[in-house]
Symmetry: D2
Subunit: 407 residues, 4 copies
């Protein structure tokens, strides 16, 4: 018995609210930087998405919940209209959380009703809305972690010492892949984002890929060897960032006397050397690889290898929101992996028409592709062809390092 | 029957909480700029003040509520220790409001208990703590107004169309004062801040003072006459600010098609021409005076005139948190009035010893003195000798303009 | 009779000085932004390069000219040591121009002497030094133009109304190229930079390339059609830059009443519609293409097409330092052409060892590749495989737009 | 035989050029921050002043030298028109120095000619122009020193080891002054600036004034006692500046291994403990006084004491552009002395009409008054009533510390 679109939609909508349950009401408005939205804003924006792109178009009886919400909860769709300033989202103490929840329910019900007799063209937009909401569920975690991290009380989103059982040691070994002409991108049925298309041939040279992620223990060696003090290991823009931001460690590391701690969604925890290093920028990932005599994989190399790997790994459903060790050869889940590839359109890529076309295409400059998903991604949200993208200096995502080499 | 110190303390402490009652829980954390603290922070900091300066010193049995609150809620007392960054106070979603309220109660009770048999030296600090809390009650209003103003939904802190009954027209007339040697500053019994001392003689020349505040109608004429476009009317630093901040009106004015509105603690309201203009910087106040052929009074002139005026006016107790018209010759209340005087120590002023000495003295540079109190000051907090001080570009306080002239 | 390396070196070194001849002594120190170095600094830095990488290594008798010049004229070689702050180069009024010229002569002579009996390994470094100096000759022009442009007197570097004879109209036609596996990168004898290697196979799809550059007339249509006001035409980072920088035209356009002018190295000149549009960012180039229903070519597409084109075009030697029309199918010279390709290492690329390794490799992030050379490049400096690179927002280089399309 | 106005004018104009004689042509354009203008700009602006306020008004035959110079060399006179951006003055490599010198000569001659039969009202403006030029002669020195200081070669404006003969030790003693009603401000014949008027009575309390300036040796004790690490010694804005700017010493001190040096207009010199400490901000001056149990004098106290002191001291004419020890009780010359007084209008002050009115009045906010003149002031430029003014954080002027106390 397959899950219907209506059931899936109800599940996805419900999950956003379930994830918020552990929060105090005071937590919903936190925003420590322009990039990290408040939890309430995520709840509202995902609702805005369905209201704007589906209800306003397909439901003649639907009346927008509030005339100003179109502006307040528009993220970046210029085709829809102006947007409340991104950096000021914490200032929206109103609407209250309760009103946003009421709005959510009304919108969910209205879309579910529409799906009883779905008008032509609605399914693709509902699917997009669900995957969009799953992206914001991941952002809920990454943003909350960043926002909480500024509080010296180190609030814990979730308890669970058991999830912090010491991870197993995991020796890194290398897997050699033969090059040649391969197909890249998404083809066939099943949802994908526009940026995964069109599928197209690409030429790969032989390459070698690590079958596990770089661990905290590995990264401690890099630090001990002066990694953050040696410009020759860094890209020029990376070194400038190290100097300017005074980076000395990954984002959430805290040194207390003689011990390292790491801020996690489970509170402040002793740094576990066996776990994969997380919350590193692409600059740090690149510098680490250079130090280790390796390099970052291209997104084509990664995808080619990932197609041969199982779609298993640590996802949101594990209930542990901090990376555990990966199994050997496990490419998906646990941590997003920086690639050396600039985020760019695939040959023949066409931006979809209308405001929905702003979803992906307009960001195709200055960012790098990440692959694999993370421990705060939903399992059914991730594919081998999935392309995530962030600026090389970004560290608040669940990012890690998988090394590659030439043979 | 006089009010005892214990009764007063209980009243002041209670008022802080009563003033917060209309807020939604989501509102307590708002902070739109570094200068405007969240409501919860005001509740906590005033409690910190009693815990730090009284309980830690006089109560051997008192155990600090939480070891990190000393840092989190220290405003600027370097003598106590380091401070959580001012601009990040909105990031402290924890402690929750409920915990702060519990802390408040415990501290209030502990201080009240101490006052049963007051140890030597405690009274002056309790009085300081109460006046300190009254200052933060006023800041609660000014900060909330500023923080709410960034929300396009324009939340109203208080209802009350009746308080917006059109104010009575109030023709400005002038009062001439004879100069000579006068006494300035506080002398005798009753509480005052250190910066009002020592009382000392000063020499005044004859001067003329307006017996009412500049009205919105007056200020609209200044605007219509190109006030914000004519550099010759402005101090150089003022003009630079006008250019940089693109000032065109006082802080909370909103132009909607052909009508002016003003954001108030009672929501967005049509601009009432008869009310005094409010939320202007000293630069605007100075430019307006220059345009009108007048000048700002010195703080000595103001104090000398105020000593002859009744201590009546619109204060917090009126329940109207927006300035009404003043009665002729009413110098206190309604709006703080910019003076031309730089905030500086009186001759012979000595900074008190210890961390409490940081209360006033260290701010005696770069700021201007304001006099009179406002509609969000407690009536029993204001004196003719009271010296308030802000930077000349500040506009989020309840500030207005009283003109002076040479005869 | 071939030119010897010594002759070439003498010519290149002489050219730097010849190019400076039209300057007033006051012009040598101009620096309008961190990216644009003073002319004197270019003269000194290219000398530093020979002193640092050749004389200090190969000439035991050579004594560095001044102990502090190693720091003052080091651009970005951390492997050599610290650097005088880039943004402050205009503050180095000393050493005087005359001393820099003396230093130049001493260094040139010392290197020429070494080449009488060249030690092993010196040739490659001398060649690198010459091509490095040619790059700075181009930067001399681009920087001077930018620095002069801030002076309302609009100084002209060179006269010559004849070079401004109205350019011929040039209709744009399109050339279709068949895809397939092609070789990219430099192979064989002759100088190239490390970033052009290794030569490697690549897979191209069929593509169409414009045989001329976008003209000012074309670009005026884009502007007239609201090009700078329509976010849907822009990459997100591009649009943010347009808003922030208030871009309305290419960099050097000046509107005077009803006529367009363009600041050039030949002074302020009426905008010639037939000339190619120049000094546009990659954001503008991309937006223009989107508006025109086209796209930017990849660097692979460009190189593949360029290999079939003659190595002719407008170069520095023309004496005209402003772009003229290109001949149909002329891909080299005139203006650098933005590609859609992020600047990244070719498969198998290895950074050379030592400080010289900082020349190219560490910049391989956040920048885009430009191809073709410009009217201020030396003709013998340019190759089809040559990869130039700048940030997408950069506009002070001689950059233009060549469009591509899918068939 | 008295000097005529024509002779004086010729002398003042000549001095500006004589002072520039030691410069290399490359030095004329230096500008290390917006506050420090290039030497060439000073030469041009002082010429602009005469052209704008005198020749354009009084000389019908005079034709402005260049139509754009009115904008290029206007400092801040909005009444005249717009101004070339202050921070970009170094970008004006043209007009060349030689052209500015020609312009100077033409303007000087035209004004001298006018003075043969002086039109009514011209004398006061000529006098103002001369004193204005003397102010810029002092700024020439202060700006050049600051601009040179960024060059690691430490250029020397003037030689002269003899001027660096070790200064004599000078014990600090205190002079008590009786208070009472005194007259402040300029009265009678002789030139003064508008800000010195009107003369008016003021009431002083008894005070004590140091008869010498704080020495480097004194200041070293302050540093050794943790002066720059103890917030309790500082005004709040001062401490914020110390933290932000990372101040550890006065502006030009350089620590080299175990010795202190000081950058001077005579090059880098060993720090002489006996000389007065110079190039300190008002914040540092205030902190030093607090540490020493003293305070800064008010400008009224200073003026009252100065009227009883001789008008002697170290001025520009000494040929030593670095402060020597002062004689006991010598209040004028050597170094400007910070006072505790905010720069504000005297009672009854009226801004002069027209653009000349922008000379002083519009700066009367946010700045502090300095008194006394310095070793780079012309002797005949200084009076006891002279009010100089700078922001409390400014350090590039020749500023020092004279302490005061209550009896």
């Amino acid at each position: 018995m397959t899950t219907t679109r209506q059931q899936l939609l109800a599940q996805v909508r419900q999950l956003s609210e379930t994830l918020c349950a552990p929060l105090a009401l005071e937590d919903y408005g936190l925003q420590a930087m322009a990039d990290t939205s408040p939890a309430k804003w995520h709840l509202a924006h995902t609702t805005w998405f369905f209201e704007t792109f589906i209800l306003k178009r397909f439901d003649r009886n639907y009346r927008p919940w509030h005339p100003q919400f179109e502006v307040l909860f528009n993220s970046y769709y210029n085709g829809i209209g102006e947007q409340y300033p991104r950096a000021q989202r914490a200032l929206l103490s109103r609407p209250a959380v309760s009103e946003v929840m009421n709005w959510r329910q009304a919108v969910t019900e209205a879309v579910l009703n529409l799906l009883d007799t779905p008008p032509a063209g609605i399914e693709a937009l509902v699917d997009l809305g669900m995957h969009h909401e799953q992206q914001h569920q991941e952002l809920f975690f990454t943003d909350l972690k960043y926002n909480f991290s500024h509080n010296p009380l180190y609030p814990a989103y979730a308890n669970g010492p058991e999830v912090f059982a010491k991870a197993a040691a995991q020796p890194c070994s290398w897997q050699t892949h033969r090059g040649g002409e391969v197909e890249i991108g998404h083809r066939g049925a099943g949802f994908c984002f526009d940026n995964e298309t069109p599928a197209h041939p690409a030429l790969l040279q032989d390459f070698v890929l690590a079958d596990s992620l770089v661990s905290n223990a590995d990264y401690l060696e890099f630090i001990a060897d002066g990694g953050y003090q040696r410009p020759e290991l860094w890209l020029a823009d990376g070194w400038a960032t190290v100097m300017e931001q005074k980076w000395q460690t990954p984002l959430y590391w805290v040194q207390s006397e003689q011990q390292w701690f790491e801020f996690t969604l489970h509170g402040l925890q002793p740094l576990d050397p066996q776990r994969p290093v997380s919350h590193v920028s692409a600059y740090e990932a690149d510098a680490y690889c250079r130090w280790a005599g390796a390099r970052l994989p291209s997104e084509y190399e990664w995808e080619y290898a990932a197609r041969q790997a199982p779609l298993t790994g640590q996802f949101l459903e594990s209930g542990c929101y901090h990376p555990r060790s990966t199994a050997s050869g496990e490419l998906h889940g646990t941590l997003w992996q920086w690639t050396s590839s600039a985020y760019a359109p695939y040959p023949g890529y066409k931006t979809p028409k209308g405001a929905v076309g702003e979803y992906n295409g307009k960001f195709m400059v200055n960012q790098l592709v990440l692959r694999g998903g993370s421990c705060v991604s939903s399992a059914n949200h991730i594919r081998s062809t999935y392309r995530n993208f962030f600026y090389p200096a970004d560290r608040w995502q669940f990012t890690g390092i998988r090394m590659a080499k030439w043979p």
